[in-house]
Amino acid sequence: MKKGFLALMLVLLAFSLFLTGCKQEVGEKVEKVLNRYVIAKLRPFDPANMTDEYTTQVFGDMSEALFSYKYTADTYQLQPEIAAKMPTVSADGLVYTIKLRKDAFFYDSLGEVFPENKGRAVNAHDFVYSVKRLADPANESGGWWLYEGFIKGLDEWAANGSDYSKTVEGFKALDDTTIQLTLNRPYPQILYTFTMSFTYPIAEEVVDFYGQEWMNYPMGTGAYYYDHENSIPGTQHVLLKNPTWHGGQFPAAADAGTGVKAKLGSEILAEYEGKELAFADKVIWNVIEESSVQWLKFMNGELDYSTIPKDNYETAVANQELTDDMIAKGITMDINPTLDVTYTFFNMEDPILGTNVKLRQAMASASTHEDILDIFYNGRADLAQTLLPPGLGGYDPDYVNPYAHFDLDQAKTLLAEAGYPGGEGLPTFEYQMYSSSTTQTQMVELFIDNMSKLGITVEAVAGDWPTFMERIDDHTVQIGGIAWGADYPDAQNFLQLNYGPNKAPGPNSANYDNPEFNALYEKAAFMQQGPERDKLYAEAAQLAAEEVPWIMGVHRLSYALDYSWLKTRVFRDIGAGYSKYYDVDLAERDEVLSK
């Protein structure tokens, strides 16, 4: 009977091999398929609530915003997308006029809303409608914070019943192809917000046709459209080339930044210059929630690129270099800084922690920053000196924060100067956790251990993310750890985390409120881009760094691996819609996989 069992297994195996071995018929067109992935299930495709990176990435391939980022520039530079050109701005920086292109069409693959698939051209009214949706309380928008208080008449429109038939003075269509934006006060960062998924245009007809379920029927003007037949939410999202897309070309080689040139190489840049986008016929976004599966699928050639999961780091990288096995497979490594910062914050309203800068400086100096970098990030990060990551205006590469490296002697001296030599007289502090994950537990344990060496007792308080957030909002978290990723590439997006009026429930979780910092922020944040503004940003960032409302953590680095057949992938930390720039060499893929 054991033979029976084995026979059964063999039958299953044979069947599996048969199914997996089915090949494409001779003469059938070979599709150029791009295999990408996300590590979490997608949320519905509603731009007003597109708060997560993964849904944004997938929807970004199907939709377009007014502006996007130049693909091959090293820094984040704006370029028109649905806008026909960059906007004209009034001298006082309050009125923006944006002209739209006329050849961007909503593509309806099902032909239900717009018969014959080719929808109507996107127009200024679609953008007005989409921005109103952000303001409308009924939509529970996660993107409203971007505009709240800034656009003339929009807050009032939302407060007075959100009547879509009424015109909003500050955001209106002058005609089908012209948008006029009027601000209450200067907000130079607003153009960056028009690259974000929150502002992707939605056709009102789609919302009307599908009712409440409309966000399950993504429809945009992008290079790809959603293949409803082959997509399985939770497993894979399949996108096909949009036949009505207005088109675009790969950027000129001369426009590429130094970093991009180093990554792609001059030959590739020259070869692709001016080539018509998009390259892949199909983009498959695999939903892979387990990092072990992500890694195996990458190693099996089922994904064209991958980040390196923590557990597989040593398999792939030795001494910051790819291992020979990886190189033999034609894999290359791409290291890039990300626009983020991790930090441990003190509640500045705490009667002890908030009033004693020496105490905070002592605790920051007693933190084993370098160990944290090695243990929790495998060295794949840079120690943060201020809250500003590299790549943003105001980041000063020469600045060294005296409290952002481990120095126990300095910490002891500072603690004595704070009035608590050896920690005597201090109460037990509470560190609020946001999860019980191994990493979070280890991080908190290390912090507690570090503080104990200084004579300070810290206790961990268990909690999940909502509890953590709730307690931050109640101003009852004494010490906590968190991270922030850029929404747009402007230092203001980080400096707002220390701005007094943004205290919790705003993004200033530390409740730091320094009039000097606030004045610098208010002056700089509303200035147009330039060296003078960057100087103020730097000054504000360094001021906050040395007052230590936060113990600085790290700016994480992205370590990605690409197969050699993936020709034109460039790392972009923000923005979306980049699949159209990715090309795959099918012959090379077959050759590598056959080995």
């Binding site: 599996s16 708060t51 894979q236």
Partner: protein, 313 residues
């Protein structure tokens, strides 16, 4: 029998009330309301006014009793409205996900029970033989390895290194079978040890009964005794054991669904928890409750059918 069925169905009333109460205590009283609101409101857009607005919108500012009765009503009518996240009717989501879980678990369960029963019968028949000892050792070994370890090994060795199966994935229709074979094998491997041990014990226990000795004295062959008498009588505990496992099948596949990207109901429930999608969560819990109650009822009825000595009244 009919009286019994009616009585058992009436038991559903306190069960539903109890399930609703536990759910209500966990999600509405102990802190679920706040968590729910904090999760639907991203940090960057959260204000006290907005939280109050949503509390009102979702009826969370009503008296607790009213909220509880509302939950009971939803559970009784099985009308949970739409998913808070996807805005799709919850029933539609269940109808999409339940068949996928069924495709994963029921064939695997069938294979596993069949294999276990055959192996256990042989072990009992050849009790004390090398074969019996080998299977016993392998069973204990199988019981000692967790599903997670088997999944990781299966994907690493069978799928990646040997290329026998896809690592993970799913397609609509019959093509999904190729993605199911490895999960089925893993299911069988992880469960067969427990079941072989249990079935073997049940069969051996039966073989010590007086009627077996009598049958032997009457000169019946060992095969005839085992397969005509012992197996039949041992069916009662085996049947109970098997049927009672069925409601857990859908739940038991959560790990497999997650690692193999199978869009099943376990995965749906886990995501509802992560996203605080309360309508979906309520519906899946109610679904499992009804499934469980239904199958315990079937077990009892089958008991009576298999063993005429048992009277349901």
């Amino acid at each position: 029998m009919i009286n019994y069925l009616i009585r058992r169905l009436l038991h559903l009333v306190p069960i539903i009330l109890g399930v609703a109460l536990v759910f209500f205590l966990i999600f509405n009283v102990i802190g679920g309301q706040e968590k729910f609101l904090y999760n639907i409101l991203p940090k960057k857009s959260r204000t006290v006014e907005q939280i109050d607005f949503y509390k009102h919108k979702y009826g969370l500012d009503r008296p607790m009793v009213v909220q509880y009765l509302d939950l009971v009503k939803q559970m009784v009518t099985f009308d949970f409205g739409r998913s808070e996240v996807r805005k799709i009717p919850v029933k539609t989501l269940l109808m999409r996900h339940v068949p996928n879980s069924a495709k994963l678990t029921f064939p695997a369960f069938f294979f596993e029970i069949s294999i276990s029963l055959i192996l256990a019968s042989l072990c009992a028949f050849y009790r004390g033989s090398k074969f019996d000892r080998l299977i016993t050792v392998l069973s204990v070994l199988g019981m000692s390895i967790s599903m997670l370890v088997l999944i990781l090994l299966g994907q690493q060795i069978l799928a990646y290194k040997w290329g026998l199966f896809p690592i993970s994935g799913w397609v609509k229709g019959i093509g999904a079978i190729k993605y199911l074979i490895l999960p089925w094998i893993l299911w069988v491997l992880v469960s067969v040890g427990y079941d072989v041990r249990f079935f073997r014990t049940a069969l051996l226990e039966e073989s010590h009964k007086d009627y077996v000795r009598t049958a032997k004295a009457k000169g019946l062959s060992d095969k005839s005794i085992m397969f005509k008498h012992i197996l039949r009588n041992a069916l009662i505990p085996i049947l109970t054991y098997v049927v009672i496992q069925i409601p857990f099948l859908l739940m038991g596949s959560i790990l497999l669904e997650r690692f193999f990207s199978i869009p099943g109901i376990g995965d749906l429930m886990v995501n509802a928890i992560f996203n605080y999608d309360l309508p979906v969560l309520k519906a899946t819990i109610m679904f499992f409750t009804l499934f469980f109650v239904g199958f315990t009822l079937i077990t009892d009825v089958l008991y009576a059918l298999v063993d005429p000595r048992i009277r349901l009244s």
